[in-house]
């Protein structure tokens, strides 16, 4: 007898599927998930967890959180991050200490794995939400994350 119950069950599930897509069809004009991309550039907001590129936020005094510990450089599986550093005299304390000169980030080699951001002990680098990363010259993809003249915020190392 499973023959007839199979037929009944089959037809029932087919109608169930059709009711689901039918609901989509009616709602599609309002609740469409399509983004009209180039048109809505101004209002388009990426979701929080979106991984655009690695950036280093600076505060209003042009200070960042990077101590030059190089943990991100070691954590990166691709060798995307290069840190150029030297020892300089800290004007506040008068002692010599390690400071970054350039935090170089090659966007073209980054796989957006996020290991560098997890490795950073001071949360100096974070994900940006931008996604329009195409350029005409690939050297433009090599970025220096710390702004010129910036310095590390006091007290971060403690």
């Amino acid at each position: 007898m499973s023959y007839f119950s199979d037929i009944y069950h089959g037809i029932k599930t087919l109608f169930k599927g059709m009711s689901v897509t039918g609901g989509y069809f009616i709602r599609a004009r309002k609740g469409s998930i399509t983004q009209q991309y180039p048109d809505n550039r101004d209002t388009l907001k990426m979701f929080d967890r979106f991984r655009g590129e690695v950036v280093m936020p600076h505060d209003e005094n042009n200070e960042h959180h990077c101590t030059g510990c190089q943990k991100c450089e070691i954590a990166c599986p691709n060798g995307t991050i290069e840190i150029v550093w030297d020892r300089q005299v800290d004007p506040a304390t008068g002692k010599k200490k390690k400071m970054i000169d350039k935090h170089i980030y090659h966007l073209s080699m980054c796989t957006m794995c996020g290991l560098c951001i997890e490795a950073c002990p001071t949360d100096a680098i974070v994900w940006a939400q931008n996604y329009e990363n195409s350029v005409y010259d690939r050297s433009a993809l090599t970025k220096v994350l710390n702004q010129p003249g910036s310095k590390v915020k006091a007290g971060i190392e403690d």
Binding site: I7, T21, Y24, F25, R27, A28, G31, S32, T34
Partner: protein, 355 residues
């Protein structure tokens, strides 16, 4: 009762007969009718493609084509222009003659079927007394084109696709034929115009034949969808398994013929369903029967579009069947149900239980 389109065609035919000898005039009229049908179906095919894309988008919560022209209305025109301008390529190992012939089999068989469709009382190119039989016979020629295309491509994916098409058509042709036969039992005629006349007095056949007619309609829709090789029966093309199936090697306009033929076939299946179950060009409850100028083909087109929408709904809801499931569905379910259904229909008619 004179129809507007009819009076136009009558004026044209009078004019043609007045300026040339009779035999030449007859040929001219034939050519004109053929050209009119071709133009009609080029446009209908293009807009069915657009409709399919729009409907598909809405079923998937997308927007669909909306860039070319207002609301994307000219999208398929642009696509057709692109396809026409494309180079016709083929691989070295194809069988040139058969490869080039195959698309024409498909499109010509689709176009021949159209000639017997009754769009309205007067708008029917070819009203023969074996109309239903003719439709069935001609529409299954198309599969030869698919088989040829797959074979001549000399490509294993194309060949597998073509063979699947063969097995699918052979199996499901049976169900289409038997479900149509169920309805022919009710009408007692194979002529399409007469089948519609039967429904003028007694109501649409799906009402007249109630339960067996409804079962026949469901079987016809399933088998008809399979006949047109559309999802969920698109094993012939099965992108994920076979590339594009039998038309993997085709490009440009030859590919477009296959594509267009699929949509015209869908139109034909929907038209047969409308004629056999929903009263063809008859208006519901005869509401426009007394309006002389009202074009009856509007009703026909509305009903056909509803059936086509149903087929699109199937396509964008159901997943593709495997080959064994396809055969199980036909030989273990549709065919026995269909045979029993014919017997039930015969009993219903015998005992005069029709409404």
């Amino acid at each position: 009762m004179m129809n507007l389109p009819l009076s136009i065609t009558k004026t044209i035919s009078d004019w043609v007969y007045s300026i040339m000898p009779e035999s030449a005039a007859t040929v001219t009229i034939w050519v004109l009718i053929a050209a009119a049908y071709l133009a009609l179906f080029a446009v209908a095919g293009l807009y069915l493609v657009l409709l399919e894309r729009k409907v598909a988008a809405w079923f998937q919560l997308r927007l669909g084509p909306n860039r070319v022209g207002p609301g994307g209305l000219f999208q398929t025109m642009a696509d057709a222009l692109k396809l026409v301008s494309k180079e016709l390529t083929s691989t070295i190992k194809v069988d040139k003659f058969l490869f080039n012939l195959a698309p024409y089999f498909v499109i010509v068989s689709a176009l021949i079927s159209i000639s017997v469709l009754p769009f309205s009382r007067h708008f029917q190119a070819f009203d023969i007394n074996i109309g239903v039989f003719f439709l069935l016979a001609v529409s299954s020629i198309g599969v030869i084109g698919i088989l040829l295309g797959g074979w001549a491509s000399n490509n294993k994916f194309a060949l597998i696709g073509a063979m699947r098409s063969g097995l699918q058509t052979i199996s499901y042709e049976l169900s289409v034929g038997l479900s149509i036969l169920t309805m022919v039992l009710l009408t007692g005629s194979l002529q399409l115009s007469e089948i519609i006349e039967v429904q003028r007095t007694g109501g649409w056949l799906i009402v007249q034949g109630h339960i067996p007619a409804i079962i026949a309609f469901m079987i016809f829709m399933i088998a008809g969808t399979a006949e047109t090789n559309r999802a969920p029966f698109d094993l012939v093309e099965a992108e994920s398994e076979l590339g594009a199936g039998f038309h993997t090697e085709y490009s440009g306009m030859k590919f477009a013929y296959f594509f267009l033929a699929e949509f015209i076939n869908m139109f034909i299946i929907a038209s047969i369903a409308v004629v056999l179950f929903f009263g063809g060009w008859l208006s519901p409850f005869g509401i426009t029967d007394n309006i002389a100028w009202f074009p009856e083909s509007i009703w026909f087109l509305i009903k056909v579009l509803i059936i086509i929408f149903l087929m699109m709904w199937f396509r964008w809801t159901f997943p593709r069947l495997r080959v064994d499931q396809l055969l199980t569905l036909e030989w273990k379910y549709l065919l026995p149900i269909n045979l029993v259904n014919i017997v039930i229909m015969a009993i219903v008619i015998w005992l005069n239980w029709t409404i």
